[in-house]
Amino acid sequence: MRRWQAGGALWLLLCLATPLPAAETLTLGVFAYRPATVMQAHYQPLADYLSEQLPGAEVRLRVLALDDIETAIAQRQLDLLMTNPSHYVLVRSRSSLSGALATLIRQEGAQAVRSLGGVIITAAQRDDIATLADLAGRRIGIPGTRFLGGYQTQAFELQQAGLRLGRDAETVALGSHDRVVAAVLAGEVDAGFVRTGILESLAAEGYLDPAAVKVINPQRLADFPFQASTRLYPEWPFIALPQVPRERVQQLAIALFSLDPSHPAAQAAGLAGFSPPLDYLVVENLARELRLPPFDRAPALTWGDVWTQYRDFLLGLAVASGVVILLLFMLARRNRLLRRQHHRLRLLASVFSHAQEGVMIITPQGEIVDVNAAFTQITGYPRDEAIGQHARRLSASEQDRDFLRALEQRLDRDGCWEGEVWNRRRNGERYPQRLTISAVHDEAGRLERHVCLLSDITELKAHQQRLEQEAHHDALTGLPNRQRFSDRLHQAIAQSRRHGNRLAVVFLDLDGFKAVNDTYGHDVGDQLLAGLAGRMQRALREGDTLARLGGDEFVALLRDLHDEAAGLAVVKRLLAVAADPIVIDERRLQVSASLGVAFALRPRELDAARLLHRADQAMYQAKRAGRNRFCVSREAIMAPCTGPSPTPEESPLG
C-alpha cells in the first residue's frame, strides 16, 4: 500500500517535472579541478553537444567546487554530474546515486586513456629522495586531500609501503596541481603529489622542463602515456541523477558513447569520448583503506576478521599468555608456600629464642654457629662469646674419650643422641645437664649441622634426691627407715659372707620418752627424738647405720667389727649419748635407752631375721633388767644379761 503511494507520488512528480518537453533543462555539474574559467571553456562545448543530441532538452553547465556539488545535489539542483571517482563514491553513499552511466576517456596524443593515477615528484637534483621510504619526514605539497590523483592515490601507495601521511610526513595543501609543481621546482616543498598527465600537459604547454623533476616510484605500464607513481584507477564517471527519466538516460548514453574524438566538444575537453562505466569498487576500496569519507569511521571489526588476519599471532599470543599465566600461578603457589614457610620460620625462631631449653647449633666440626638466650642463662656464656668457639671448650670436658666416641657413633647411626652429662658453667660451677643432640642434613643428605638442646637439671636432680631420701629415710630424724635399714643389713650380711667380716645389730628403745611426750607435747618429743638421733648418729663409726623404726625405737647396724669388744665400745657410746641431757626450748630434758645387741661373729649367725629377732629379745631383756643398759644376745642361750657395761642410773625424767 505504502509502496503504491510512493510510486504514485513519484509519478506525479515526474509529470510535474516534465510538463513541456521543449522547456526541459538538465543541469550538468562539473567538478572544478582547475580554475572555473578554464573549466567553463573546456566543458561548455560538451554541454552544447548534449543539448543538441537530446531532443527537447537543454543542458546547462555549472562548474562547482566539491562542497557546492554536494549542496546542489541535496537541493536537487543537478541532473547530471561529472566529478572525480572518489568524490563520486562519497556522493553516492550520501545520496543514493545510481551507478555511473559512463567513464570518460581522455585523449593524450594518439592514445586514449580511461585510467588515472598519482605522480610523486621531486626536484631532479634531489639525490636524497629516490624511493617512497625517502619521503618519511618530508614536506610534501598537494593540491588538496580530496583530490584522487593529487593526494589519495599517493597516500594509499605510501600506506602500503608503511608510511602514513600526517604522521610520517607533512603535507601542505596548495590548492592546485600547477602550484604543487611550482612549489617543488622552487624548493618550497621536498616533494609534490600531482595527478597523472599534469606533468605532460605542463611540459606540452611549455611551463615545465621535464628534466627539472623526477618521478618517485615510477610504474612500468605499457600503453599508458603518462608517468605514474601509483596504481591506476578509473577515470571520471558521468552520472545521471535518479530524478532523470529513463528515456533521457538512454538518450544520454547514446549521445555520450557516440561522441567522436574529433568532435569539437571532445576536442575542447581533451576527451576521446566515453566508454561503458568501469568498476569503481577499487576507488571505494581505496577510500575504505585510507578511511576517507564516507568510510572515515573505523569499520566494525568482527572477531572473525581479527581471527582471520592475526590467526598465527593470536595463537602465539594465546600460548604465550597461557605460559605466562601458568608461570604466574606457579609463582603464586611458590609465594604462598614461602609465606607459610616464613611464618613457620618466625615461629621456629621465636621458639628458638624463647625456649626454656638452651639451644646450641654447631657445625659437624664442632664450631658453634648460634645459641639462644636460654643457653646463655644456663651456661653463663654470652652469645657473642659462644659463637665461633668450639663446643668442647664450653663443656666440662669431663667425659672420657670412650664416652665421646660412643656418642659420635650413636649420632652417626641414629642421627641423635640423648643423655645426661656433667658440665661446667662459665663461673666454674659443675652442674648436671640433659643433652639432646640431633643431626641436621641438607637436601642431598650431607650432614650440615648438629642441634644441641640442653637443660640444667640441677633442680631435677635435687628433687630426685629428695624423693629418694623420703622413700628411704625417716622424715623426722633424717635417719634411714626400716626399709633402708633392711637393705643395708642384707648388703652387710652379703659382704660378711664373702669377706668373713663380723657385724652386730643393736636394738635401741628410749626409756621415759612417753612421759616427755605426754608432759611437753609432741613437738618437744619430736625435737628430742631428732636431737638424740643426731647424737647417736655421731656416736657411730663410719660405715655403721642408724635407723629409726618408728616411735622411740631405733636400730643400729655395726659393720666390720674386729671383735665383740669393738662392737661393745660402740654400744656403750650409744648408751652414753642417749642418756646425756638435752636442752629443748630452754628445758633440760634427759632420757635413757635400753639396748639389745646381737653379734654375728660366725658365718652361721649371718641371718637377718634371726639377728633382728635376737637383738629385739636382748633389748627386752635390758628393759626388763631395769633400763638404761644393754643386753647381748648369745646364740645358744639368751644371755644372762646386763653384760659387761656399767649400769647407768634409771633416770627417765632426769
Binding site: Q160, R220, L221, L232, D279, V282, R311, L315, V323
Partner: protein, 317 residues
C-alpha cells in the same frame, strides 16, 4: 581451519620467536611458474607485495622448466596444466591440485602462415610444438580434426618462447602455442587456425603441489592462495591497471594483453570449488586426458587419480 592445521600452528607457536629471529634454514615454498595469462594474478600479487615471504616464485621460461624442477625435487609445486600434472604423477612426482588458475577457451592455439587455409594444408609443413602434454594434447586434437597422421608433418620441438625467433627466420610454417606468444605470433602475421575453443574444458591450468610436502607449508599455501585471489580481484576490478602492467611485462600492447584474456576463464574462489569434489570437472577432465594421452597399461592410464585434488586450501564456502 581443521584440527591438523590448528595443531601445526599450536606446535609452532612456541617456536615463533625462533622463526622471528631468522635462524631457521630456508624453508620457503618454492613454486615453479612461467609466463601465462592465467598465472598473472600471482605475478600481480608479487608486484604489489601480497605474496607471503614464505613463498618463492621460481620463474622459468616455460612449463618444461617447472616439470624439470619438480622431477629434481627442487620445487615444491608448480603452476601447470592438468595434463602436465598427470604426466608428472606418472613419473612419480606426487602432485595434488589445490587451485584452478584458468580454463582455456581459446588461449591455446595453432597458428599458421597466411595462405594455409585449412588444417589439411598442414601436410608437409614444419610444425613447431612443445613436447609437453599440452603440446601433445593440442597436436592430438589437430590430427583428429584434420585427419592427418603424425608422419604427414615435420614436427619441430620448440617451446613457445623460442617459436617467435623461428617464425621470423622462417624456420617454421605453423606453431602450436599459447598466450602470450600466440598473440605475438599473430602480430607477426600468423593466422589463428585452430584453438582450444574447439575442445573446451580440456586444458586446465592448475596449481599443483607435492602432496608429501603439503604439511610443511600449510600456512604458506593458505597465504599463497589468498594472494592469488587478491591478484585475481585486482585483475577484475582494476582491470585497466592490471592490463597496463601485464602488457609492460610481456611486451604486449594494452589491447593485446586484453585480448589474451578473451580465451580463458579465471574462476574465483567460489568458481574454483566447482572444479573439485567427486563430481567436479577436474576429475572428469583428468579421465578424458588419460584416455587421450595414455597408452593402455602405462602409468598415466593406470593412475587411479586418488588424491588428485584437494579443496582444503580454498576454505569453506
Amino acid at each position: 581451519m581443521d584440527r591438523r592445521a590448528l595443531l601445526t600452528r599450536l606446535l609452532a607457536a612456541p617456536l615463533l620467536p625462533l622463526a622471528l629471529s631468522g635462524c631457521q634454514p630456508d624453508r620457503r615454498l618454492s613454486l615453479g611458474i612461467h609466463p601465462w595469462p592465467g598465472y598473472e594474478p600471482l605475478y600481480l600479487a608479487r608486484e604489489f607485495g601480497w605474496l607471503p615471504a614464505s613463498v618463492r616464485l621460481q620463474e622459468g621460461r616455460n612449463a618444461s622448466d617447472s616439470l624439470e624442477g619438480l622431477r629434481r625435487g627442487a620445487l615444491d609445486g608448480a603452476a601447470l596444466t592438468l595434463d602436465e600434472v598427470l604426466s608428472a604423477r606418472a613419473d612419480g612426482v606426487p602432485l595434488t591440485v589445490c587451485l584452478v588458475f584458468n580454463d582455456s577457451v581459446g588461449a591455446d592455439a595453432l597458428l599458421v602462415r597466411p595462405g594455409i587455409g585449412s588444417l589439411a594444408e598442414l601436410a608437409g609443413r614444419r610444425l613447431a610444438v612443445e613436447r609437453t602434454a599440452v603440446g601433445r594434447l593440442v597436436l592430438a586434437k589437430v590430427f583428429a580434426a584434420s585427419g592427418l597422421a603424425p608422419s604427414d608433418v615435420t614436427l619441430v620441438d620448440l617451446p613457445p618462447d623460442r617459436q617467435l625467433t623461428a617464425w621470423r627466420s622462417g624456420g617454421i610454417d605453423a606453431a602450436i602455442s599459447y598466450e602470450p606468444t600466440a598473440t605475438r605470433l599473430e602480430r607477426e602475421g600468423a593466422v589463428r587456425l585452430f584453438d582450444s575453443r574447439h575442445f573446451p574444458g580440456l586444458i586446465l591450468d592448475v596449481l599443483a603441489l607435492r602432496r608429501d610436502r603439503l604439511l610443511w607449508y600449510d600456512a604458506a599455501i593458505d597465504k599463497l592462495i589468498a594472494a592469488h585471489f587478491r591478484g585475481l580481484a585486482h585483475l577484475r576490478h582494476s582491470r585497466e591497471d592490471a592490463l597496463h602492467r601485464i602488457a609492460a611485462w610481456r611486451d604486449l600492447s594494452f589491447a593485446e594483453a586484453k585480448a589474451t584474456y578473451a580465451g580463458m576463464a579465471l574462476p574465483d574462489r567460489a568458481g574454483n570449488r566447482r572444479y573439485f569434489g567427486p563430481q567436479g570437472k577436474l576429475r572428469e577432465t583428468a579421465r578424458t586426458l588419460q584416455a587421450l594421452l595414455g597408452t593402455p597399461g602405462d602409468r598415466l592410464s593406470t593412475d587411479r587419480l586418488d588424491d588428485l585434488a584437494s579443496d582444503h586450501y580454498l576454505g569453506d564456502a
